[in-house]
Symmetry: none
Subunit: 209 residues, 4 copies
DNA sequence: CTGTAATCGAGACGGTACGTCGAGTCTTGGG
DNA sequence: CCCAAGACTCGACGTACCGTCTCGATTACAG
């Protein structure tokens, strides 16, 4: 998103050291103090970097946070390449969709219940909610790969005849995960395995008798 | 939430004029400029009110916004009493759950697609996302009544045998509405009637064959 | 220059405490670190005052410095009233113009040779040199009274027949003091009593045989 | 001052093109924007030169300005040699000191009243006022030759018996030119031919009756 | 004619200060 | 006691330059 480093004739290249220091500082600060007190000044100070270095390479605080998240979540790259690790990962497949979905959603629940992850993810979520550009970036770089993974598992189930042949997998993914996200983000209730299980069961079986 | 007006023997009581001016200003500013540029200073100025008057009666910017939303959404009261209008309202009931749910969700979709409502609601959502107190308040005063309405309609369908007898209505409500909210808040895709319809159909029928 | 405090209906008046803290800090910092490292940020910090308070009441760093100089030089007032002390002061008058002028100019020389006064005065001089508004202010509020004093003494000598009847006293004052100032400001040579004495003698007697 | 080019066995020598581009840019910028907005970055940009090239050859912004002034004032050289043109120049000598002095001082007055020269000279004056090294350089390289010229003319008058035999010519030069400089630098009043004439007349005749 | 070392343009870097905005607190005078 | 007005301290914003530091790419002697 961020730099598309011009390999131009001119010169003077971006400092990889600074880039990593900034992203590390951003990630740690987000986890420690949360969105409200996350300032560019603070990130620069903690990273031992001039503010201008941040403004030079990222368009907004949210963009820094996003890249930080990207770096610590997917392998590394930050912008150009990769996320290979994500692409190669896969959701568990024991042959039992229901059980597998529960396994995965329980993990999500546990993650969101971890205070450090909660603060980081919440900060990112808030930034995404009021920055359309960042939202697009998030959808493409972080959400899409995750969604692909989920859809892949569901597609396997579909092919095994465990899910309806005409099921729209995107809708299915939303049906399963969105309630979790909303309950977490708006703190509408306790985020438990029970709730996640109920979600899976109801979504699979449908609301009708 | 907000004021628990001390009915003290002493003297001067809260100015209703100022209260309404503040909430009106907050609501309008939120709709016009969005979360990012919504400042207490701006609200006070537009309301023709001293900043202290805001700080005296509300604990945070989010609280003002919440009250503003409350005032313009439910009838009026703001804090003490009512929301009667909501309590008395009801979702349409033609006897066809699926059709009725679509009607209601189409309305939600249309609302969220209106730029003014989008900005206001987004500002409120963001405040809720990083203020647990406000989240509790929101859950109780704005979300709960709406959820009751929805559950009431679902319960009717349940009693009519159109929904499973053991269906957890809270889970059902989440299953239907959360995906809408997430897609809107994180701009994960276009918010259309088609999407809402697919949601209703899949949730009702379930994902299995 | 500075505030013309509006006694308006509204309210909220300027804090005298802050004003004095700022001027004191500015004066001391100028004396300690000199023009080059005199920053508004530094003044605010040393004064224990928000930067905005400086920007609210003074249009420039030079204006602060000027007011500081005014406060520590003339009695007090800073802007509205006074400088009475200056108005009432007088140059020595022993009846011997030459001796009296030397006395006064020796004092000036000594002052300019004091490092603290040098730094302060130099900072002020530089600000004046590149800010026409400040220059006007300086001419009116600091320079004019001093010049009046000098002219008064010269006028007495004129009336006593020691100076030419048609002598332009402004020109005379410039003739005496400007060389001192230039030599000091541009460090064109050592600033000594000898030099000052030569100035007085030559100016009085003229360059002709 | 500036480079003491090491004639090292090694290699590559200073680019004359860059040197002139820098000095030209500095001179023009000073004339256009004045001291306050004269930045090394700006000079480098306008000269099409890397910042390092400036820092490599000059110790300070003032030094660049000084060299620029030198180049555009005296013939050329910049540092090593010359100013021959100045050495060879001479003040007019009609045999009438008073008239000749007025001629020269009127020219000075006119120069200082030219906005472009005013800004340049003012910038230089300010730099000199807070940089002792630069002041020494200025005294030696720009002021001394000018002063020599003036003293030479005065010495001629002295030998012709028009000036006192024991007159200190340095004091005389200061007496005549300093008031002009102060009035200009501190904008103490209009810089006119009348004022210059009065200066000459009073200095020559003395203040006494 | 070629290697080699300094200089060149460009511009990123860690910093300091700028001048502005808004937060939340405090003070004043009027109702 | 509330209210408007607005000054206060404080902290962060995003920008401009500082002076230092790489980067290739010239460039001009020395071999």
């Amino acid at each position: 998103m961020t730099d598309q480093r011009r390999p131009s004739a001119g010169v003077a290249r971006r400092s990889e050291t600074s880039r990593r220091a900034v992203l590390t500082a951003a990630f740690e600060l987000a986890a420690e103090v949360g969105y409200a007190k996350l300032s560019i000044e603070g990130i620069a100070a903690r990273a031992g970097v001039g503010k201008q270095t941040i403004y030079r390479w990222w368009p907004s605080k949210g963009a820094v946070l996003f890249d930080a998240f990207l770096m610590f979540t997917t392998g590394e790259p930050g912008e150009g390449g990769g996320g290979e690790s994500v692409e190669e990962a896969a959701l568990p497949d024991t042959g039992d969709v229901e059980a597998d979905l529960k396994t995965v959603m329980f993990a999500t629940v546990d993650e969101l219940n971890d205070p450090r992850y909660d603060r980081t993810m919440r900060a990112l979520s808030i930034e995404i909610a009021h920055d359309a550009d960042l939202a697009a970036l998030y959808a493409e770089r972080l959400n899409r790969p995750m969604r692909e993974l989920k859809k892949r598992r569901l597609r396997a189930a579909q092919e095994a005849g465990q899910l309806a042949a005409d099921l729209d997998l995107d809708v299915a993914v939303d049906l399963l995960w969105s309630p979790l996200l909303v309950r977490w983000l708006h703190r509408e209730g306790p985020l438990t395995h029970e709730y996640a299980a109920a979600l899976v069961e109801t979504a699979l079986g449908g609301m009708r008798p």
